[in-house]
Amino acid sequence: MAELWIGAAIDQNRSSVGVDLMSVLPNRLPWFVVLAWVVSALVVHGRAESGLPFVAGLPAWVLIFIGLQGALAFTAAWIARP
């Protein structure tokens, strides 16, 4: 552990220019999902009127949001696949 830590301390003072980060870059897909869901949520929110039908005690637009939330969980599961 001590060797690992000393290595890290040295590494922190070294320039990372040239380090091959491209091969280990994180997945960009989740950020596109964030944008897509924000746009979808705004579309639903834009059509949310208090006069919309109620289903199971909740306005239909809230149920659509719950559907979006469920779809988000499924999308997260898809992103998380091995």
């Binding site: 869901w37 949520a41 005690g57 997260a76 998380a80």
Partner: protein, 481 residues
């Protein structure tokens, strides 16, 4: 002595003893290294990681603030918070996995060390450290403040505010100093489970009391139809405000030092990804409970004004749930306060130890010495938080309200660097300083409100930060060409 008070006191004593027992269990197995104390040897997996992410993120605002917002705004508060939080969790499986891998490979422990590794420059490290401490410390001080008031109200004044805040802080300090991240994560599991169960129990009891979800909502629809509109009461959620909030959570949540450090402490990518999947489900199920309880508050307490509406949860429990349950549920709110405070204490203590003490004062400090200093820093920060909580200066409270936006300004620079973008040091620093300057200017009135164009202040601040980084990349490309 009422049944509510007796049940609250019994639940409180059992809960605090359980925390201390879990803290004591965490004393074994430590190797005395900074990794072991601050990051639990980077071995947090699956269930424990999930609960520690949840408990750290869900403060008592989840119990009290959501219900108050449901009362003031209406049902629109629910999808904003639930979807925003679910979207924030997507960072666990992308940013989180990359940060975990980098930190484990290079022995990084703090966010400043991470940015120092990606963009080596002392000024930038110090800037990230300053922003994180500046916005986390006031937020930290709010926890004993809220917990003290809650305990005072819970015990009907038998435990005064100052004594309550001090008692809860002392318990936290004991288990954080003793067990570090291991103790924090274990207690987070207890606190997370308590939050889940107690919120669901409160919801079932109140829903039954108001005659069921459908009946209560249809009655409210007749009285206050705007409670069910997308804009909410008073037209609070304009499309631009809604867009701002939906973006705020995904951008600010990973920038909290206590959340970033959970990425460092994760045992493997799989555990982070499991948390990413479960987070939207839990937020979707749980968040609707306090918001609906708050809305139903109009049926029983139609005259709450302003911040008084934040008391709607205990008021509704007092009216509709069994007496024994009211006290116990409020202990759940205390758990939410404490689970956020302990994580903030540990995160800030690691930063003060590694990024200031070890880097500038005693570079030769051994790992054991760092742990000792870290423990002292936990005590010092807890005392500082308590002192601020007992006599909160206006400026500190104001800073705390801007904590989320202030931290989110770091997002473009830090996440871009993690994704391999090579900012220049000047570009990275100007991006953060420019974004924070916009927030400051809007808060103090130096920048006209029209600059926000109807969005929250975070959006123009982020636009400025991104423009600076974009120009930085263009200049770098031009120089290379």
């Amino acid at each position: 002595m009422s049944i509510t008070l007796i049940s609250a006191l019994i639940a409180l004593v059992v809960y605090l003893l359980a925390l201390l027992w879990l803290g004591a269990q965490s004393l074994g197995g430590q190797t005395g290294s900074a990794d072991s104390y601050f990051l639990a040897d980077r071995r947090l997996r699956a269930g424990v990681l999930f609960f520690t992410l949840i408990a750290t993120n869900f403060s008592a605002f989840f119990f009290l603030g959501f219900a108050g917002a449901g009362y003031r705004i209406g049902i629109a508060y629910y999808p904003m918070m639930a979807l925003g939080t679910g979207l924030a969790a997507l960072s666990f499986g992308s940013l989180g996995c990359r940060v975990r891998s980098l930190s484990a490979k290079h022995g990084l422990i703090t966010p400043s060390e991470l940015i120092g590794h990606l963009l080596p420059a002392e000024g930038l490290r110090l800037l990230v450290l300053s922003v994180m401490v500046l916005f986390t410390l006031p937020y930290l001080a709010l926890q004993p403040l809220g917990a003290g008031y809650l305990l005072e109200s819970l015990t009907g004044g038998a435990v005064p505010f100052g004594v309550g805040a001090a008692l809860l802080t002392v318990v936290i300090v004991i288990y954080v100093v003793g067990g570090g991240m291991r103790a924090v994560a274990r207690t987070d599991v207890l606190q997370g489970v308590l939050m889940f169960l107690l919120m669901l129990m409160a919801f079932v009891a109140v829903a039954k009391g108001v005659g069921g979800i459908e009946k209560a909502n249809l009655t409210l629809l007749q009285q206050l139809p705007d409670l069910f509109s997308g804009a909410g009461l008073g037209g609070f959620f304009t499309p631009r405000v809604m867009a701002s909030y939906l973006l705020l959570w995904p951008l600010c949540l990973p920038m909290f030092p206590q959340m970033l450090m959970r990425f460092f402490a994760a045992g493997d990518d799989r555990s982070l990804k499991q948390s990413m999947v479960l987070y939207p489900v839990v937020a979707g199920v749980l968040f609707i409970c306090p918001v609906l309880i708050g809305m139903w508050g109009h049926l029983a307490f139609p005259d709450l004004v302003g911040r008084a509406s934040d008391q709607v949860m205990p008021l509704m429990l007092g009216r509709y749930s069994p007496e024994w349950l009211t006290g116990i549920v409020m202990v759940g709110a205390l758990a939410a306060f404490m689970s956020t405070l302990d994580s903030q204490l540990l995160a800030l203590s690691s930063m003060l130890t590694r990024d200031l003490y070890k880097r500038y004062w005693r570079p030769q400090a051994s790992l054991a010495e760092q742990v000792r200093v870290g423990r002292l820093a936990v005590i010092a920060l807890a005392v500082a938080g308590l002192v601020i909580a007992l006599r909160p200066p206006e400026a500190i409270l104001s800073l705390a309200t801007h904590a989320f936006s202030g931290l989110a300004v770091l997002f473009p620079m830090l996440v871009g660097a993690v994704y391999g973008l090579r900012w220049t040091v000047a570009g990275a620093m100007v991006s953060v300083l420019g974004g924070e300057a916009v927030l400051l200017g809007l808060a103090l009135g130096g920048i006209p409100e029209s600059f926000q164009m109807g969005y929250l202040p975070l959006i123009p601040a982020l636009v400025v930060a991104c423009i600076v980084l974009g120009v930085d990349q263009l200049v770098a490309q031009w120089r290379r060409a």
